[in-house]
């Protein structure tokens, strides 16, 4: 991948130019779908965009010292990491990429939740600290399954190159891996039934309780970009291999939309679980998927 294609991917498609409207659109789809399923009408189409602009125009409380500097830095790091993760997705055919970009993508997907944990602790609010502790416990639970599922798909293809994974033919192992990733997405995106870190009836807004104005706008944006990146990862893995670029892009968008809609339906249909139930769910119930996936991947490798 040379510099031009890298910049084009990061800035245009599937990077910022596509990802920003997509982030707002997915946030709207989530809110609208939940509202419709609750029998409400829901927010207007441009709502997340208006929220973002309005938050940019609000003042922030004065922050001083290194703690204040860190509080301003965390949302920016989260946004750039999420945007970078979207830019890495191999949406278009023969779009380049490099050996090991899957590992970079996983790291960038993980960075926003690390930033949220750090942000909660550096805000020094009791609600932020509780939210961060919950986020950390949640992250330790779902990441085992998430990483095992992706590693098993990668191991079956003998590569850590995203493009090769996107082009692999459909197999039972791939379906198992995608299912395991799908189970982890509600926890990664903090929606019901795993909306523990930002449980508004219990701990206000969790780690981002103390944030206001443009910083909060950045958190909203990074959440939207996480939606695009996480659903996009599933979409690229599940999409059939296409050579026409516009068809590939269309399939990517439609599949992402389907995943967003599915996750919103789950969010609307479930209530929040307790933290110990959540941890038990991931360690006891879904780990079996991941272990099955990785063991069959290793078995296939030994046999080949």
């Amino acid at each position: 991948m040379n510099l031009t294609t890298a910049l084009a991917r990061f800035l245009i498609f599937p990077g910022l130019l596509f990802a920003l409207p997509a982030a707002w659109f997915f946030l709207w789809v989530e809110r609208k779908a939940v509202a419709r399923m609750q029998g409400r009408f829901g927010p207007p189409f441009m709502q997340p965009f208006f929220d973002f602009i309005k938050l940019l125009g609000k003042s922030t409380p004065p922050r001083s010292g290194i703690g204040g500097l860190l509080m301003r830095a965390w949302p920016l790091i989260a946004v750039s990491a999420a945007a970078g993760a979207v830019g890495l997705l191999p949406v278009l055919p023969s779009s380049g990429g490099f050996e090991g970009d899957l590992i970079l993508l996983l790291a960038l997907l993980e960075l926003p939740s690390m930033c949220i944990i750090a942000a909660g602790f550096s805000s020094r609010s009791i609600f932020g600290e509780i939210g961060s502790a919950r986020e950390a416990a949640l992250s330790v639970s779902y990441n085992v399954v998430f990483l095992l599922a992706i590693v098993s798909i990668a191991a079956s293809q003998h590569t850590f190159r995203l493009e090769a994974l996107a082009q692999m033919p459909a197999s039972p192992l791939q379906i198992l891996g995608i299912l395991a990733i799908l189970v982890c997405l509600p926890a990664k995106l903090h929606i019901n039934p795993f909306s523990l870190p930002n449980a508004e009836q219990e701990i206000y807004s969790g780690p981002i309780t103390e944030y206001a104005g443009p910083e909060l706008a950045m958190w909203e944006l990074s959440h939207g970009l996480e939606w695009v990146a996480a659903t996009g990862l599933v979409a690229t893995l599940a999409a059939p291999h296409l050579t026409t670029w516009w068809l590939a892009a269309l399939v990517f968008v439609v599949l992402s939309f389907v995943v967003v809609f599915l996750l919103s339906a789950v969010a609307a249909a479930t209530a929040r679980l307790q933290i110990d139930t959540t941890v038990r769910f991931y360690w006891q119930c879904t780990l079996i998927f991941a272990v099955l996936a990785i063991s069959s991947a290793l078995f296939m490798r030994l046999r080949s």
Binding site: R40, G42, P43, P44, D51, G57, K58, S205, L216
Partner: protein
């Protein structure tokens, strides 16, 4: 007014995030406020979102007749809401202290302590009146921009079907506003 300011005004009008605060209310208005977000009234159509943290909110919705114990809390929370902000007093209690008038446990009405932008009278007000009040406060926010709250008399949302309540509340509110209305810089922390 350039394009960015126009967009900002439009966004402020369409995205009022509210923070709900109880200053000794009987819970009647609180129930109606929550009802205004329920499927029947669905305030989210106007972009209203009930926020858990005052830092995220634009509009502070205060219910209750302002007891002595809650005065400091009100001032703290008002200071925690980041500008530009507006205050909506929900119910007759924050406007006039209602039936609790002359009680020794009260330090009301609300606009003795902070500048109130919209009064929504009623005991309790209907959810549609609350939504109208919040929408009016959002319009005030959009018009005000980044300047401090003006010294204009507060708005009163008329209530359909409430006998004389509207007129009484309005007179009391305007009188209280004229007698003692601190500027926002005094209470801002």
């Amino acid at each position: 007014m350039n394009l960015w300011n126009k967009l900002m005004c439009y966004s402020r009008r369409h995205s009022p995030w509210i923070f709900h605060m109880n200053s000794g209310s009987c819970n009647g208005c609180d129930i109606e406020l929550v009802a205004s977000l329920s499927p029947r009234y669905d305030a989210e159509q106007l972009g209203v979102r009930l926020e858990g943290s005052p830092r995220h909110a634009d509009i502070l919705c205060i219910t209750g007749p302002v007891t002595h114990n809650s005065v400091e809390a009100i001032k703290t929370v008002y200071g925690q809401v980041c500008g530009p902000k507006a205050v909506v007093a929900i119910g007759s209690c924050p406007a006039t202290t209602n039936v609790f008038i002359d009680s020794r446990t009260l330090d009301g009405p609300l606009n003795k302590h902070i500048a109130v932008d919209v009064f929504v009278p009623g005991c309790p007000p209907r959810p549609d009146a609350i939504i109208q009040g919040v929408a009016r406060a959002a319009e005030i926010l959009a018009a005000r921009g980044n300047t401090a709250p003006a010294a204009a008399p507060p708005e009163v949302i008329p209530v359909k079907g409430a006998v004389n309540c509207e007129a009484n509340c309005y007179v009391a509110a305007v009188a209280a506003h004229e007698s003692a209305s601190p500027t926002s810089s005094e209470v801002q922390k």
